[in-house]
């Protein structure tokens, strides 16, 4: 469980103080899948970086499995438990081959050689990267690179996975392939696999969050909505006011109801397949 209480994050810019996060209270439970949306500058990335101690709170506390991110001695354990996949995978890939990239984190943890090989092979297979085993990562396409970034994080068997807009630079086909890999994790979880990974997925594409357990909406450093995605997307006007989009079918449905005084609406079967 990740528990955040009254998290405030400020940075100082010359004389000026900028408050990016303004009193966040949040609990991420075991196995939950959570979407996070918010306009540019609302604090999404800052919040994500507070979860594994890349940033430390100005006030308030962040606990990962009861370890406080403020305790320097626990930080490497916290970072193993909370894996991050960023918007641009090039920023997190460090090794000269795909295989070494996946092994990088394991080497740092001091995992023994046999076991490391086992994990690397499993990840190459799971993320469909076997044929690139000895390829330099920078020659992969954007979608493949994003899969490699995810494989390298998963190799560390994290308990929490944070995705910071991993799809925003991808073309549609790569986006679909990444999303389907991620949804396989959720599927495994539901079918009782022992891995109880919790995920926090930041995106600007509302339809990507429809399958999640929960959706959080962040605005001006505060969580303004926290509910099931399908409930939140009913609030078309409210979301528009803070500069967010709802999936097309929710917006059309809302408009239909308004036009017909609630007499007409779409059935859920008319809703679009999830990408």
């Amino acid at each position: 469980m990740i528990r955040i209480s009254n998290l405030i994050f400020e940075y100082t810019d010359g004389e000026e103080k900028n408050r990016v996060l303004n009193g966040i209270d949040l609990t991420i439970r075991e196995g939950e899948s959570i979407g996070l949306m918010g306009p540019n500058g609302s604090g999404k990335t800052t919040l994500a970086r507070c979860l594994n101690g890349l940033l430390l709170p100005t006030e308030g506390e962040v606990f990962v499995d009861d370890m406080n991110t403020n305790e320097a001695a626990r930080i490497s354990e916290i970072r193993r438990l909370v894996g991050m996949v960023f918007q641009n995978p090039e920023n997190q890939i460090v090794s000269t081959t795909v295989e070494r990239e996946i092994a990088f984190g394991l080497e740092n943890l001091g995992v023994d050689y046999e076991q490391m090989h086992e994990i690397v092979d499993k990840m190459l297979e799971q993320f469909d990267l076997q044929k690139y085993r000895n390829h330099p990562p920078h020659l992969l396409s954007g979608g493949e690179m994003q899969r490699l970034a995810l494989a390298s994080v998963m190799a560390m068997s994290p308990r929490y996975l944070i995705f910071d807009e991993p799809t925003s630079l991808l073309d549609l086909a790569s986006r679909k392939s990444l999303l389907s890999i991620i949804s396989e994790f959720y599927e495994e979880k539901r079918t009782g696999d022992k891995s109880k990974i919790s995920t926090l997925f930041i995106t600007q594409y509302p339809e990507e969050t429809l399958t999640f357990d929960r959706l959080l909406v962040l605005n001006q450093g505060q969580i303004v909505l926290d509910d099931k995605p399908a409930v939140i997307f009913q609030k078309v006007e409210e979301l528009k006011d803070i500069g967010l989009e709802v999936p097309a079918e929710f917006e059309v449905n809302h408009y239909l109801k308004k036009l017909s005084d609630g007499k007409l609406s779409l059935n859920t079967s008319d809703f679009l397949p999830i990408p």
Binding site: N40, D171, L172, G243, L244, L259, S260, L266
Partner: protein
Amino acid sequence: MNLQIQNLSFRFSSFGSFSEPVLNDINLNIEEGEFLALVGPSGSGKTTLMQHLTGLLKPDAGQIRVDNQDIFAKGFSLTELRKKIGLVFQFPETQLFEDSVYKDVAFGPRNLGLPENEVAVRVEEAIENVRLDFEKFKNRIPFHLSEGEKRRVAIAGVLALQPEFLVLDEPTAGLDYSGVQAVADILKHYHSMGRTVLLISHNIDLVTSLVDRMVVISDGKIRFDGHKKELFQNQKLLQSVGLSIPRTLALVNSLKQKGWVKSSELYSINDIKRELDQGILAKHILAQPQT
């Protein structure tokens, strides 16, 4: 300005003999005043093609002709061409460097050697054209702006050159909904001033809400060039190049079956709303007996 690309091929020589051509026999005509989109998967050659338009890359074969002149011919001034074709690259805000919005936008026009009073006019106009309040923003430090504002300032820097032909590579990547809408408005407005606009984007919903003519490129070849209506009827082609129909268009099918809309050609939420206004109002509200 009319632009013609004829039988253009290109490969990166640094990859040696391994390399497949990045662009393979490209033919494309763009007429003055058009607004069109170039779409295709990552790595298909979109950005490479864009770099050819002002001679930043030179083709291995084929020609680029601007108003019927070969841009690589002796005596053709690429410097003059670059004043007419404005390129907005991916994440242009990473190129912001001045300490005020005004200076950053003025950088291009000053480089053109324009007198300072003309620079001032252009800067103000460009900032207004990207829907930012000139007085409020002119003295602000670009690095302190939001992501969407930075992107708009960077685009203003190119607009201040007043290019006849504007080319943008993924101008909405990473922007939130209101940022995307702002960029869409900027493009519509710039096109309405009689300029030519070429939009490169993965955002199929955005593209189809803005343009009719779509050019699809895949593996360095042009696979489609025509009206979006034809493109979205060709499932086989869409699948082979990894494109899907816009979400709105999929929704229109449901609405049509219920008889709430008539047209199949609704490419944006606003198109759907407009059609619903007419259809539903006529059928369900206006049809009720008057009291």
